[in-house]
Symmetry: C2
Subunit: 200 residues, 2 copies
């Protein structure tokens, strides 16, 4: 059985959302599992002295256009939410807390968070929204609300961000196949070829 693929992302990354709608099915065609690894782009950008895409002159406005066009090209529903981007530490903490209980529930929650933000325009920075999405995925709402303030859960996300930085992650989505890194949903064709040919 080949090694799982690592999929690093931030829940407020639109290109990360697009990747989230494709990577599992693509990997499954090559008998691969995918490890989903939410992190906080804010932590990465602070380290790199970078800034969120929408606030970069010229590139920012282009990117909003390109995000919509890339979604249409892939056939994936997407509306740029307002506000955009948002803080995603609650969503990421809930993900890791859920993952400690049930991988499948965590995966369903992650899809639900992405779609809540990029399809339904819900405010995924809100604790209440995060708890509601976790409950809809099958978690206990009160336990989830408590977990979001739990120091061990907070530390779990800090560790995840540190691990992402150590793995070279500087953006979202960032996919790693057997040590080979692919940044951006626009690398899907190369990812497919890499999986099919074992490198090229």
């Amino acid at each position: 059985m080949p090694e799982p693929i690592d999929f690093h992302f931030d829940f407020s990354s639109p290109y990360g959302y697009l990747m989230s709608e494709r990577i599992d099915a693509l990997a499954a065609r090559f008998d691969r599992k995918v490890r989903w690894k939410p992190m906080l782009l804010g932590v990465v950008y602070k380290q790199l002295d970078s800034q969120p895409l929408p606030s970069i002159p010229m590139k920012g406005p282009y990117s909003l256009h390109d995000i919509r066009r890339s979604a249409r090209h892939l056939g994936i529903a997407l509306t740029i939410p307002t506000p955009f981007p948002v803080a995603t530490q609650h969503a990421a903490r809930a993900y890791y807390w859920l993952h400690g209980q049930d991988c499948a529930m965590a995966r369903a929650f992650a899809h639900a968070v992405f779609r809540a933000y990029f399809v339904d325009g819900r405010d995924i920075s809100s604790k209440d929204v995060v708890v509601a999405l976790a409950a809809a995925a099958g978690a206990d709402a009160d336990a989830c609300a408590r977990a979001l303030d739990d120091d061990a859960v907070k530390q779990r996300l800090k560790d995840a961000c540190g691990e992402a930085l150590a793995a070279g992650v500087f953006g979202s989505p960032y996919v790693v196949i057997d040590g080979e890194p692919f940044w951006g949903v626009d690398r899907l064709a190369q990812i497919e070829r890499w999986l099919a040919e074992g490198g090229f």
Copy 2:
């Protein structure tokens, strides 16, 4: 006859080089001409307070790896030259000077500059190399050498950089089809679909 496509690039941009090897043939399949428009990324980056890709932490090393892999994916010969990147004002000035005489000669020269740098590792920042490449494309070597110091030729490139900024160009390659902008050689599939369907 549909409008020509605009292809903005810097001669020291590896992704620009990859695009230069594909855009004319792709456009021709849809009865389109391509206007090649060299500019100076340094001017753009100064305006945007940005910096060359290789000098950005984490993203820089990744990009050198991605450039090579993208070249293999497209089946185009490429070696990252040393030094990289280099100043390309002489090459760009020679291009516009040649274009004023003969479009086809300018196009042949542009291909030769890209290949001299990214295949043969020649120093395209050198006036001597630029003049030699222009002469090989059919130009008069002495006249080309004089043109590189001509104020009107220098102004032509300044104007081109100003026009690129005004057109929203913030990187290389930057392709515009009927007002629709595409940044990056990784947008080739979207460019092809846009040309085939007239938008999507």
